[in-house]
């Protein structure tokens, strides 16, 4: 019995860390993988999703619908930014770091100016349950399930949609895709919007568990980044395994030494993984394959 309790606790910790990494990294992975853009404004898409979700909930809308609204809002913001600025940064990873950091500053500061330093949030739904004398949040289990659904959707669903097929073609060779009649510009916009919407989804999902401050995106930024980069250039191949490895280490370290130990452990894992696999996980997997 004791063993089952400990096993459940370990599973919960792992699942919680895994869900966090997957949900926060999915959108970033698509944008990095598709367009070679390192989007430092990723945290702001998350914040947008969170803020819109909470505002809509306060109007009386049920949470799942509110989260959808938040995700949509972030997606639209993404498309807007892509059409105006981002489309000039494709495959310029170092330049995109600087420019998107600029966007991040503008959005964060703008939100601070317009909406103040904090906004009333909303509480975590669904309450808690206990196993072996410890109580766990049921909502966090829901998040784990959503994370898995997102992965399934991206890996299995997306490649079968029209956008998905066009997107894969465009990643492989934009000029070729264009020669086949694909509107590459539109594919990029929609894909960027999808990445932003996924970020907004993460924001909306985690909003009930966090305080609403304009800089809340920063909580997600570093960890989603390292997950994407450790995964390597082929995001469909690398991001999920990267999330698995990193979340295992993070959960273990958090259980051992607390939250800061978990963060430090995660970062050290990143350093070691890249040292062993200098092109990330997908770089290594692809080398083995072809």
């Amino acid at each position: 019995m004791e063993f089952l309790h400990v096993a459940f606790s370990a599973f919960y910790q792992f699942g919680d860390a895994f869900a966090f990494l997957v949900l926060s990294a999915a959108g970033l992975a698509i944008i990095f993988g598709m367009m070679g853009v390192i989007n430092l404004a990723h945290g702001e898409f998350i914040m947008c999703g969170a803020y819109v979700t909470v505002s809509v909930v306060r109007l009386g809308v049920p949470l799942p619908l509110a989260i959808a609204c938040g995700s949509l809002a972030a997606g639209l913001l993404g498309v807007l930014l892509e059409r105006t600025i981002i489309h000039r940064l494709y495959h310029r990873p170092l330049d995109s770091i600087v420019a998107t950091w600029g966007i991040s500053l503008i959005i964060t500061q703008g939100t601070l100016i317009l909406l103040g330093s904090t906004m009333p949030g909303t509480s975590t739904p669904l309450g808690s349950f206990s196993v072996g004398g410890f109580s766990y949040s049921l909502y966090r289990l829901v998040l784990m399930a959503v994370a898995v659904l997102v992965l399934v959707g991206l890996y299995i669903g997306f490649p079968h949609t029209k956008l998905g097929v066009h997107a894969r073609a465009t990643i492989q060779g934009p000029q070729m895709a264009q020669a086949l009649g694909i509107d590459v510009g539109r594919v990029y916009s929609l894909t960027f919007g999808l990445g932003a919407a996924l970020a907004g989804l993460a924001g909306g999902l985690y909003a009930p568990t966090m305080t609403m401050v304009p800089t809340m995106g920063a909580t997600f930024l570093v960890e989603s980044f390292v997950t994407v980069v450790v995964g390597g250039a082929d995001v469909f191949l690398g991001t999920a395994p990267a999330a698995v490895i990193l979340s295992m280490i993070k959960a273990f370290m958090t259980a051992w030494g607390g939250q800061l130990a978990g963060q430090i452990g995660l970062l050290i894992a990143v350093i070691l993984v890249i040292r062993v696999l200098p092109r990330g996980l997908s770089g290594w997997l692809l080398k083995e394959r072809s």
Partner: protein, 369 residues
């Protein structure tokens, strides 16, 4: 043409009329050469030297504050602009050396020129750690975005670790690390002197020490990047595979550039700590790690002079905005970054130089730079 001018100087140097290293000041890897540029340079230095006579202690101390960051910026220019390796690690070495200086001086005091020894030891510590980290990175063939992420992770590990050293058990000798609040109260750089030691608080004497250091650092780096070593660095940046296929062990060159650049970040850290007598983990946080990237990108990362001017420009603009525009400072900063990347991707200074060049050519005059 510029290249011929430089070659002429090199030929003079090899005939023994000029020391070779002097010829290197004018080399191909830096903007600005010839008598016009150097006269302007000397005038700027003289103006900077005379400036405290026309200003008050606070403003001079503030300008000294700006100077403390220049070493870090120039170091990143070397690592990223010349060697092509994007390192987010400058903030890590900044903090490492800053804290080291604090620990050493809080334990041993400032008498007998000990603070100067502390400065050397602290920078040396950064050099040693950079050598280890650099070996790990470059001999492990890590490059590009991956290099950025690993160096960023190192920096954040340091800052996260230091942030949780709040308890009284976190002490080295008599120096408490103090977690988020950081370490304070260490003695400033103190010059041992006959009549009595001179402590360099954030005032005119420190300003001069920093000014001299900046000038020496700038000139030294100019010589370095224009030398054979610098030629290889630039080759590695442009086409690492080709550089290797010409017989160069590129890992060694990258490592050396990384150690030099990171040590300069450590030097910034010591000067900063001694300027304000404090150092905190936020000097190694995400924003702090990104700042050198911003200065260098705005100024013009492939050139030392551009980086120098760009860093001072961004620091000055940002400080003034924070004072007069408060909330909008960061918004403006963000807009500036976007504008630079979109319209002047090589940086503010090279972009302006090119624009001026085009204008003067349009007027029918020959290009002189």
């Amino acid at each position: 043409m510029a290249a011929t001018g430089r070659d002429a100087v090199i030929r003079e140097a090899s005939r023994g009329r000029l020391p070779h290293w002097l010829g290197l000041l004018n080399g191909p890897q830096t903007l600005g050469r010839g008598p016009g540029f150097w006269i302007g340079f000397v005038l700027s230095v003289l103006a900077a030297a005379a400036y405290p006579l026309f200003s008050d202690g606070w403003t001079v101390g503030n300008t000294a504050y700006f100077f403390t960051w220049i070493f870090m910026a120039l170091g990143l220019c070397l690592i990223w602009g010349y060697a092509g390796a994007l390192s987010f690690g400058q903030a890590a070495f900044f903090g490492l050396s800053g804290y080291a200086y604090g620990v050493i001086t809080l334990n041993f005091g400032a008498a007998h020129g000990l603070t100067l020894a502390a400065l050397l030891l602290s920078v040396g510590l950064s050099s040693a750690v950079a050598a280890l980290l650099g070996y790990f990175l470059f001999y492990g063939r890590i490059s590009g975005v991956f290099l950025g992420i690993v160096t960023l992770s190192v920096t954040l590990v340091f800052s996260t670790f230091m942030a949780q050293t709040a308890g009284p058990e976190w002490t080295i000798g008599t120096a408490r690390l103090n977690g988020y609040n950081g370490m304070t109260g260490m003695p400033p750089l103190t010059v041992p002197w006959f009549g009595g030691d001179i402590p360099l608080y954030a005032d005119v004497p420190l300003y001069y020490v920093l000014l001299v250091s900046v000038v020496l650092c700038y000139l030294g780096l100019r010589i370095l990047v224009n030398s054979r070593f610098g030629n290889v660095l630039v080759a590695i940046r442009e086409n690492p595979q080709r550089a290797e296929m010409l017989g160069y062990d590129i890992r060694r060159y990258q490592l050396i550039a990384f150690v030099v650049g990171s040590s300069l970040a450590g030097l910034s850290g010591v000067f900063y700590t001694t300027w304000g007598q404090y150092i905190t983990p936020s000097s190694m946080g995400l924003t702090a790690a990104a700042m050198p990237i911003v200065w260098v990108a705005v100024g013009g990362r492939t050139d030392l002079t551009a980086t120098l001017i760009g860093t001072l420009f961004v620091l000055a603009v940002f400080q003034n905005l924070t004072i007069y525009g408060s909330q909008y400072a960061l918004v403006f900063m963000g807009a500036l970054l976007i504008a630079i990347v979109l319209f002047l991707p090589q940086g503010l200074v090279p972009g302006l130089v090119q624009a001026v060049g085009r204008l003067s050519r349009g007027k029918g005059r020959k290009e002189t730079t």
